[in-house]
Amino acid sequence: MAKRIGMEVAVAVAEAVGLCDIDMAAVYPITPQSHIAEHLSDLVADGKINAEFVTVESEHSAMSAVIGASGAGARSYTATSSQGLMYMHELLPIASAMRLPITMAIANRAVSGPLNILNDHSDIMPQRDSGWISIFVENAQEAIDMSIIAFKIAEHKDVMLPVNINIDGFQLTHMVEPFEMPTQEEVNKFLPPFVPHATLHPAKPVTMGAFAMSDYFAEIMKAKNEALKNSKKVILEVWDEWEKMFGRGYKPVETYMAEDAEVLMLTMGSMGETAQMAIDELRAKGVKAGLIKLRLWRPFPFEEIKATIKNAKKLIVTDRAVSFGGPGGPVFSEIKSALYAETQRPAVYDYIYGLGGRDVPVSDFIGMFERVLADTDNKVVDTYEFWGVRE
């Protein structure tokens, strides 16, 4: 077993990316992603990795640069957060439509306004329909593992899609946590060289990102959707491979005490670990509580979600973003639509919480369970509430 070391998560992510034989990175620093940008540029400047670090003038340029580099056949990496991600937005569907296997870390942070630099998921949620594979991580080890795994998933010949890895800003990026860092030899063994499906080269001219009118646009959208849906098979295979090599397995939906649970809670990202403590406390009191952690956001794991929650009586979905004027948080909408056609399904509740970095202690999760357990006649089912908001 590799030695466990402690390091700030953002720095560790840059270290992990440094093991992946990247050809280039274009990263514009933004809080709380900056330490990824800084450390990766250090690795390049110190000659520790043989890659080009492109100092761009914005996130729009960063994404444009990695699109161009990936098109040229370079293993390309970027990282951003919040406003930076919003600024990249118009380019994200282009990267996926061109089937460029870029990987990107997102240090999740609330989107303005008001300006707020702290953690929630309001930056990634508006990017949901960009056609990227979207993964949420819970702790340092997952952030490191996924940073390496993402390249293999993205570059698989049956995938060829960009991947974003969601790492909660500050709550995770700025923590010093213990983890095992794979060795260079291990990563070399795990990650084969990037073989692009096409490259920009003067000797063999191709056109990428060509114009398409109404006679082809729908077919292209369908092909992209099928590609993203089909990527799940490869994601599962690559996670299995990782488990065989490193002993750490990953699933699209992770569970904790969920098998016999009557009331389930669903979290995404770093909150899972706090919620897990709440489950322990509730179990100690005799409450049949359980937790499911949604790791894979896109492609959405419908089958896994349904199989995991079908026996529960109640399900508490937690959302860290608001869909203004909508039916609840974005995760809630997805879960409800996944369950719509099921005859056996739990009553679903939604709590929007932890916005703009608001602290969420274990007692908040216990409070959510208590509120839902008290709803014996299912009065507030299918509604959402801003947890802990001052009335």
């Binding site: 439509a97 061109m98 089937r99 460029l100 060829m160 499906h197 096409a198 001219p205 191709v206 056109t207 990428m208 060509a210 398409a212 006679d215 082809y216 729908a218 077919e219 292209i220 369908k222 092909a223 099928e226």
Partner: protein, 92 residues
Amino acid sequence: MALKTWRELPTGCVVFEPGSASEYHTGSWRSQRPVWNNQKCIKCGICYVYCPEGCVQQGEDGFFQADMDYCKGCGICAHECWPRAITMIEEG
């Protein structure tokens, strides 16, 4: 040319054949066509320079005409022609 199904599209819609855009006959978009009056034309070539499609060509006699396979009928040539030698005529 039969349109491809979604399954037949190349990954990422990469076009491997250089210059294949010439197979796309944008002339079908046209609702008006430019007609040159060579009595007024002074062979300055402004129409040739301004044509965004690059479909205006100079003949051996020095006068200009548009390739109707590609002319979208945008009218820029007629607008820019300062001797007013080009008229846009409705397509039947």
